[in-house]
Amino acid sequence: MKTWPQSILEKSMRKDVILDVISLHAGYGGKPVLQGVDFQVREGEIVAVIGRNGVGKSTLMKTLIGLLPTDRGSINLRGASIDLLAAHQRARRGIGYVPQGRDVFPRMSVLENLLVGESIAGQATEGKVDEIFHYFPILKERADQRAGTMSGGQQQQLAIGRVLMGTPSMILLDEPSEGIQPNIVQDIARITVELNRKTGVTVVFVEQNIDMIRAMAQRCYVMDKGSIVAELDKDMLQDRDIIRRYLSV
């Protein structure tokens, strides 16, 4: 039997740790990508994950939500292991996931796309659609357009709006700024931070855009070759050059 180092055990017992990832290994059909990822996220935090192309950031996100199986190690949500849960079960526990490259449902209308997001909550929530429309007015304007024909940036907004429909307690965002016009990038950052303040939602996001990282993140993990190689705290995140340096580890 494997015994965990005392400190990690201790940490995972801590009550305010919502997500505790211990020595996580995962990959694609025998090809290992994540090779021992360890990190914790506390309730209500906004944490960034950065790293070069191809180091495994998206793989980490997919493993957290359950689209890829855990090969070794474990993922604990509020102290309980979720390794054996299917993705939809994890979602039902309040995890919202916005994939890289958006992946909206192309042949469904914008509104229908949003309605699918309700599944996270398991039921429809009164007034939720209007709330989303308030954050992303273009979605209201195009409520009946087929999502596949929306512009790249519009799709990204839709994808974010879609998970918010389910009022998740934790959101995983994979490169949310990709393809979004600068002022909306700022909006998204602002909205996220605002939501985080208002509702205490926890956010884990992968990002390359320094401005967005600075605007949103309270803490930041740096990934390389399938594991976490550094952790940046609030102060370090003030310095563009530090982030820049770590982004290209």
């Binding site: 939809h88 449902f105 879609r162």
Partner: protein
């Protein structure tokens, strides 16, 4: 008066062709349109519906209940098939052609071995009525009504219910739907089951009017495929108009030049329609709308 009689008779023939096209195709359309699976075992679900409902009728169940039983049985069979065979194949839909073809062979021959070469029919209920010089079967009118009811029910189910939205989401981007909390396996199972149940319904409805043999499913296949293709991938926008167009073509050609012309006409219609509307009728409608 004569003129009105012939109008009625044309309408009746059109309705008859329409009903056959709709009922034989909507199960196939649900499975193809929603899941991208070309179900070559469609005819065998029809067979299942026909055999079960006829057996139920022989056991004394009233016809509507017997038909419902056939449809449910086919639906359950569909869910089993989905679980065992179709589910691993969603990532490679073309392979489902081979798999369902295999299933079709197993079921057809299995039925022959277990139940023999034929089953006695239950007889067409309700008798006939006359308009002018012609007499017509009343049951055929029931079939027409059932076709319309089925279409309406499907339309409501897929556009007005949550199930419809989730089902379409699941088919389009399964991993995201799952990550959003949709139990995609359940959705798949229900959708395929629904398609199979609709096939079973067709079997149950037509069973009293047909020869019951293990290969009977085959005689629905051409019409079913043709309707689905002409309709295009979006079953609600496509199937009904396709059945109308094809029903008209078939009724007109058959009364004018006989069954051969009707059959060839259907097939040629496919080739022409696809030439003009490569994505079927619904593809055209969707494009206009977008």
């Amino acid at each position: 008066m004569e003129f009105l009689y012939s109008i009625f008779s044309f309408l009746y023939q059109f309705g008859d062709a329409f009903a056959f096209l709709v009922l034989s195709s909507c199960g196939l359309a649900v499975i193809f349109g929603m899941m991208g699976v070309i179900n070559l075992a469609h005819g065998e679900f029809i067979l299942c519906g026909a055999y079960v409902s006829t057996s139920a009728a022989h056991m004394g169940l009233p016809l509507p209940l017997a038909i419902a039983a056939g449809s449910i049985a086919a639906g359950i069979a569909g869910m089993i098939v989905e679980l065992a065979v179709i589910r691993p194949l969603y990532a490679r839909p073309l392979d489902t052609i081979v798999a369902t073809w295999g299933i079709s062979m197993i079921v057809t021959q299995g039925t022959l071995i277990v139940l023999g070469t034929t089953m006695a029919g239950s007889g067409t209920p309700f008798g006939s009525f006359s308009v002018g010089a012609y007499s017509y079967s009343i049951y055929r009118v029931v079939l027409m009504v059932m076709a319309v009811v089925t279409l309406a029910a499907l339309w409501l189910m897929f556009t007005k219910t949550r199930f419809g939205i989730l089902a379409r989401a699941t088919i389009q981007v399964p991993h995201v739907a799952e990550a959003l909390g949709v139990n995609t396996n359940l959705i798949y199972s229900l959708t395929f089951g629904l398609g199979a149940a609709l096939a079973g319904l067709a079997g149950g409805l037509y069973a009293p009017t047909m020869t019951l043999v293990p290969t009977m499913g085959a005689s629905f296949m051409v019409e079913a495929f043709v309707t689905v293709v002409v309709g295009g991938a979006d079953i609600f926008l496509g199937t009904a108009p396709a059945a109308v167009v094809l029903g008209l073509i078939k009724a007109a050609l058959t009364s004018w030049k006989g069954q051969f012309a009707g059959q060839i006409g259907l097939l040629v219609a496919v080739i022409i329609v696809i030439r003009i509307l490569p994505r079927g009728i619904s593809g055209k409608i969707l494009k206009e709308r977008a």
